[in-house]
């Protein structure tokens, strides 16, 4: 008994504070949030009682929320494809031995150091929708380089406005994806390449059959990391388009609007839906990595 205490005691004591803190402030508050979402607390006054899943039903039958979910889906797909494409491309170019790798690595990685709010302020100006004489930002650039026909209303576009917001997002996260892939490329042992070359493969075959397959865990990590950031998007929308702009509504901004007007039950329901959406992405990944580590 005493030996067991000696074995387990100190580690338990060490992790206890974080277990308690995470338990209360993460899982405890998630429970409170879910609880609130099941009540009829539609004002700042205390709730009268429970209404079951009524808030969720109201939410999913609300056209504005459907619109926000649609926007979130479009944003996430475009953001993922864009960030993975550019990240992979840059990593590959650098891996192929482009000159000045250190400089490029820094340049590509640097945008990630900027907060979405700070870059959003700049992109708000770049993506200004004024055209012609009053154009500024990118529209101005297009106008002055004779590409005026490419000018468009960016995030104010009624159907595709949300896609304009993926430009800054891709710009910021591609460098990070590049760093991930670069590490992946470096992780492929030199012997494998040499063995393949001895066997007389072409350069393309070397990449296609030897190196790319070994990058799939990296790609998966990149998808998870970029994907969950994308699903939580809030700061970028707030900084560029503001909370009330219809074309760029996402669930997180709606949650903020409902919270600000005092509809706590509905904003808690939106928060829970967001958590579930992210969980759909994260939980399988956690299970997968857990199994991988156990198999080692």
């Amino acid at each position: 008994m005493r030996r067991r205490l000696q074995n387990y005691g100190p580690p338990l004591l060490l992790i206890a504070p974080s277990v308690v803190l995470v338990g209360v402030f993460v899982y405890g508050l998630i429970a409170v949030n879910v609880n609130t979402s099941l009540t009829d607390r539609h004002s700042r006054a205390p709730a009268d009682g429970y209404v079951g899943l009524d808030n969720y039903k109201a939410l999913f039958s609300d056209e504005d929320f459907q619109h926000a979910l649609g926007n979130l889906l479009m944003y996430t797909l475009a953001f993922l494809v864009g960030a993975l494409f550019f990240g992979f491309l840059w990593a590959w170019l650098l891996e192929r031995g482009a000159r000045g790798e250190g400089v490029f690595r820094t340049i590509y990685l640097f945008p990630m150091a900027v907060s979405f709010i700070a870059s959003g302020v700049v992109w708000r100006w770049l993506l200004n929708s004024a055209e012609g004489e009053r154009a500024s930002g990118i529209n101005r650039l297009l106008e002055s380089t004779g590409l005026g026909f490419l000018q468009n209303s960016w995030w104010s576009d009624e159907n595709w406005g949300i896609l304009a917001l993926t430009l800054p997002a891709i710009w910021q996260l591609s460098g990070y994806v590049m760093a991930l892939f670069l590490a992946g490329f470096r992780g492929v042992p030199e012997e494998l390449r040499e063995a393949a070359r001895v066997d007389g493969v072409t350069e393309w075959q070397l990449y296609r059959h030897v190196i790319f397959p070994q990058l799939s865990p990296v790609a998966l990590s990149a998808i998870i990391i970029v994907g969950h950031m994308s699903l939580k998007v809030f700061d970028l929308v707030m900084a560029i388009a503001g909370q009330t702009n219809y074309t760029t509504q996402v669930p997180a901004t709606q949650m903020w609007i409902e919270f600000t007007r005092g509809d706590y039950a509905l904003s808690a329901a939106i928060g829970t839906v967001l958590l579930l959406i992210v969980a759909v992405l994260i939980v399988p990944y956690l299970v997968y990595t857990y199994r991988q580590e156990r198999n080692r």
């Binding site: 700042r44 200004n128 055209e131 009053r134 209303s153 388009a241 702009n245 007007r261």
Partner: protein, 430 residues
């Protein structure tokens, strides 16, 4: 005031501080409210933290310290987010029973939520005891009365139904700068001419400025009585009159700058100052934007009531409340007394650029535009502004803003009216 000084920059900084404020707001304010407000202190909670608003508050504090030298003013201002950050912080403080000595709120329907939750004390008795009910015009008192009680003391008045015009731009477009428009149709005819001349006829900004325009159009087409009826259910939102107004609104929106969603009100007003746009409909806080750039009233810019609303004063007012459980109610009452007083209103409004609600305040030093507002306020019927929280509750305004935003991004009048009618029905049923 909700929107004064709401520049793009401050809005973005506001967004940046949102997370911080909400994360730490409760704890930070919990501590200074709980232990910081001692005997003889009154904590005044506002979102007046910069620009002319801050100057106005400072001037008011000067008068307060003169009138009540035994009391100490504690500034509880929360900056950022155009007041929405402050409101969220306030909500959490009220929930934890840690109210400030007094807090700022727009007079009128915006107070509904606080009243229903029992957060603020009725002030009707105080009005009678202190004689405040003699200071304000009858028509204003009617607008701020809720279910037979007064809940706040107005500190300043702004007018919302004002058109700002650039005479030089109008002349360039071949339109008479001194024209008087009887109704919106007459105005629209001139807007067409201006558009043909290649000048933006009407500048506008993001969603709330569009709601602001809508409110003045509704007032123009419906008239005082029917406009007031929108907020108590006697006017049918689905009716033909509202359809007509919404069609006018659609037409007017067609004359505006395409980048409206990217602009806040100072940017939109700046277009009139620069002459790239002919007209802008904005509340009279815009006066400060013209004045700060040394523009001369009557020469560089002119103003007139939105066509169809001549002889009506579309008002919004900041006001101060007495929270339930305020740490030091007598000190709070003293603050309210200064707010109501002629000296307090004069000092505050001269610095802030608004006009006094108190008719006894000395306004001889006020600017030329303000004199026109003072005159109209004293004699015209007064109606409540929608976009600025006087006419409808926060929740209702949020829904209307969302419908207007959707309409602005390519909606049609029929579905807009359907949305507005459904919202009104739900809100009035509550």
């Amino acid at each position: 005031m909700k929107i004064r000084g709401r520049t793009t920059r401050s809005r973005c900084i506001g967004a940046a501080t949102v997370a911080l404020v909400t994360a730490f707001g409760a704890t930070a304010c919990g501590s200074d409210g709980g232990s910081g407000t001692g005997e003889g202190e009154v904590e005044v909670f506002t979102w007046w933290a910069q620009g002319s608003e801050k100057e106005g508050l400072d001037a008011l504090v000067g008068v307060f310290e003169e009138q009540h030298s035994d009391l100490k003013f504690v500034n509880g201002a929360v900056a950022g987010g155009a007041g929405s950050d402050a409101k969220n912080v306030l909500a959490s403080r009220l929930q934890t029973n840690d109210p400030p000595g007094t807090f700022q709120a727009h007079a009128g329907a915006e107070l509904t939520d606080y009243i229903e939750q029992g957060d603020i004390e009725p002030l009707t008795d105080a009005y009678a005891e202190e004689g405040w009910d003699q200071l304000f015009p009858e028509s204003l008192l009617e607008q701020i009365e809720q279910e037979g009680e007064y809940y706040s003391v107005p500190s300043n008045i702004h007018r919302a139904n004002v058109v700002w015009a650039n005479p030089a731009a109008l002349e360039e477009a071949g339109v008479d700068p001194n024209a008087e428009y009887a109704d919106l149709d007459a105005w629209i005819a001139d807007l067409e001419k201006i558009e043909e001349a290649g000048i933006t006829p009407l500048s506008i900004g993001m969603d709330w400025t569009q709601v602001h325009l809508l409110e003045t159009v509704l007032l123009a087409d419906l008239g005082v009585e029917a406009y007031n009826g929108l907020w108590d259910g006697t006017t049918d939102w689905a009716g033909a009159e509202v359809t007509g107004a919404l069609e006018h609104y659609e037409t007017l929106l067609g004359f505006t700058n395409s980048d409206r969603q990217s602009l806040d009100w100072p940017d939109a007003t700046q277009q009139v100052i620069d002459g790239t746009a002919a007209f802008n409909v904005m509340g009279d806080w815009a006066e400060a934007a013209f004045a700060s750039q040394d523009k001369v009233f009557g020469e560089d810019y002119t103003t007139f009531p939105v066509p169809g609303t001549d002889g009506v004063f579309d008002f919004l007012a900041d006001s101060f409340t007495l929270p339930v459980g305020a740490p030091n109610p007598d000190a709070s009452r003293a603050w309210l007394d200064t707010v109501a007083s002629a000296e307090g209103q004069q000092a505050f409004n001269a610095a802030k650029g608004s006009i006094p609600a108190n008719l006894e305040a000395d306004t001889s030093e006020f600017g030329e535009y303000q004199q026109t507002a003072i005159e109209s306020f004293a004699q015209d019927p007064i109606v409540s502004s929608l976009a600025h929280g006087s006419a409808a509750s926060v929740s209702w305004l949020t829904d209307i803003t969302s419908s207007i935003s959707q309409f602005g991004s390519g909606g049609d009048v029929a579905s807009l009216q359907e949305d507005l009618a459904a919202t009104a029905e739900a809100q009035l049923a509550d």
